[in-house]
């Protein structure tokens, strides 16, 4: 980091190589378009380099970088808005405040589920259908593990608003995915059960201990 601040390009390239995919995942999660995400990441690194001397080292370089990525991604959404943003989910929260989380989880192993094209396609579709604000909060939380307070600062809103957005983003994701599970294709059933069709242990159940059903899909970097 110090080398990069002194103008050492190789040191900056090392930072790029270390964080570019993580930055891309964040940008892609928010802007939902590969080329746009690439543009955001590129601009973020150029901006980070330009203001390296202002980086004080209080946080990690990536913490600083993700803020730049997030700001650029949100700016990008505002500038290149393809559909008129309607915060349906937030409106619904106000009018439908008693809609709770569904007491169901996907069967099988989430890590294995991610190998299934239908499930990944449905995750993509569900992310696309979330409002920009809900999606941004969900991505910040799930990908970067940001606290409610940090997200509120990043999005210039209250902590309560962040909680509302996150709650409904998660619930909508859950609904989308459960729709798929409730009407599974044979291929999906095979993927989720590992070919053990009819095995009662892999069917969704409401009263099973959660810890037995939520193996980590992947360790956080």
């Amino acid at each position: 980091m110090l080398g990069a601040q002194r103008g050492d390009r190789d040191a900056f390239k090392t930072l790029f190589e270390r964080y570019h995919r993580r930055a891309y995942a964040l940008a892609f999660g928010v802007v939902r378009h590969q080329d746009d995400a690439m543009d955001v990441v590129q601009d973020a690194f150029i901006k980070a380099h330009k203001y390296l001397d202002k980086f004080e080292g209080n946080a990690s370089f990536y913490t600083w970088l993700y803020r730049i990525v997030m700001n650029l991604a949100i700016d990008h959404l505002r500038k290149h808005r393809r559909v008129k943003p309607v915060e349906l989910d937030e409106t619904r929260f106000e009018n439908d405040g008693d809609d709770p989380l569904l007491p169901r989880i996907l069967g099988g192993n989430p890590g294995r589920a991610l190998l299934d094209k239908q499930i990944r396609g449905r995750i993509d579709q569900a992310l696309d259908e979330l409002s920009e604000n809900h999606r941004s909060v969900l991505v910040m939380r799930e990908l970067e593990g940001l606290s409610y307070e940090d997200m509120a600062q990043a999005m210039s809103c209250s902590k309560g608003t962040i909680m509302s957005r996150l709650f409904h983003a998660r619930r909508n994701m859950q609904k989308r995915l459960l729709d798929l599970i409730d009407n599974p294709s044979a291929e999906l059933v095979d993927d989720l059960t590992g070919g053990r069709v009819g095995d009662a242990d892999d069917t969704p159940a409401n009263d099973e201990a959660p810890s037995q059903r939520t193996p980590a899909a992947r360790s956080r970097p």
């Binding site: 002194r6 103008g7 390009r9 390239k13 790029f16 570019h20 995919r21 993580r22 891309y24 995942a25 892609f28 999660g29 690439m38 990441v41 590129q42 690194f45 150029i46 380099h49 330009k50 001397d53 405040g97 008693d98 809609d99 709770p100 989380l101 569904l102 007491p103 169901r104 989880i105 996907l106 989430p110 589920a113 991610l114 990944r120 995750i123 993509d124 992310l127 991505v139 799930e142 409610y148 209250s158 902590k159 309560g160 909680m163 996150l166 709650f167 998660r170 994701m173 859950q174 995915l177 409401n206 099973e208 201990a209 959660p210 810890s211 059903r213 939520t214 899909a217 992947r218 956080r220």
Partner: protein, 198 residues
């Protein structure tokens, strides 16, 4: 036996799952949240309500799926695309500047705000001085165009010419003096000696 739940109480479950228990807005009238109490309430609910446990598990599962999906999406981008991105970035990076001018530029960049503030303040003071100055020049202070007007003392302009000097009841003397300061004329009057009543 599971208990009825609504979004508000599930919000508390979400906070618990996220390790943020205690921050639910409106949880206490005065805004003070007793985190230990809030966590205890959620823990008690989790202990007796299987639906609540599954909901917490569902929150975590959705998180795993979203994170895993986005990371796999990033992994799927070919290295060549990022290599090309780095080349574009490298082309646009500013060269580290050296030398006196570069140091001055960096100093200006760093203190640009202070410099601009100082310049604006100085400009404002100058503008005020211009606006508030007297509209007519002080006659006692020679102005820029004063040199065009000869305002030298009379004595320096010309020697006075005295045609006649009538001094009834006395006598007079006219003295003309020339020195390096110019010409001076002194008129000296001497009354005749008179005594009243004689």
């Amino acid at each position: 036996m599971s208990e009825p739940a609504d979004a508000r109480s599930d919000l508390a479950l979400m906070e618990y799952a996220d390790g943020e228990t205690g921050g639910q807005p409106g949880g206490q009238p005065d805004g003070q949240i007793n985190e230990a109490t809030a966590a205890a309430v959620v823990a008690a609910r989790l202990a007796r309500d299987p639906d609540a446990r599954v909901k917490v598990a569902a929150i975590k599962q959705v998180g795993e799926l979203v994170r895993g999906h986005l990371e796999l999406s990033a992994d799927a981008v070919h290295d060549a695309k990022f290599a090309a991105m780095w080349r574009r970035i490298d082309d646009q990076l500013e060269q580290p500047a050296t030398g006196l001018w570069a140091r001055v530029s960096r100093w200006f960049d760093r203190y640009r705000g202070h410099v601009i503030t100082g310049a604006v303040s100085a400009g404002a003071v100058a503008a005020l001085a211009l606006i508030l100055r007297p509209s007519t020049p002080d006659p006692g202070i020679p102005g820029r165009n004063a040199a065009a007007i000869d305002v030298r003392p009379v004595a320096l302009r010309a020697t006075p010419e005295i045609d006649s000097l009538d001094t009834p009841g006395g006598s007079s003397t006219v003295i003309n003096l020339d020195d390096e300061d110019g010409h001076t004329t002194v008129i000296w009057l001497t009354p005749a000696d008179t005594v009243e009543g004689i």
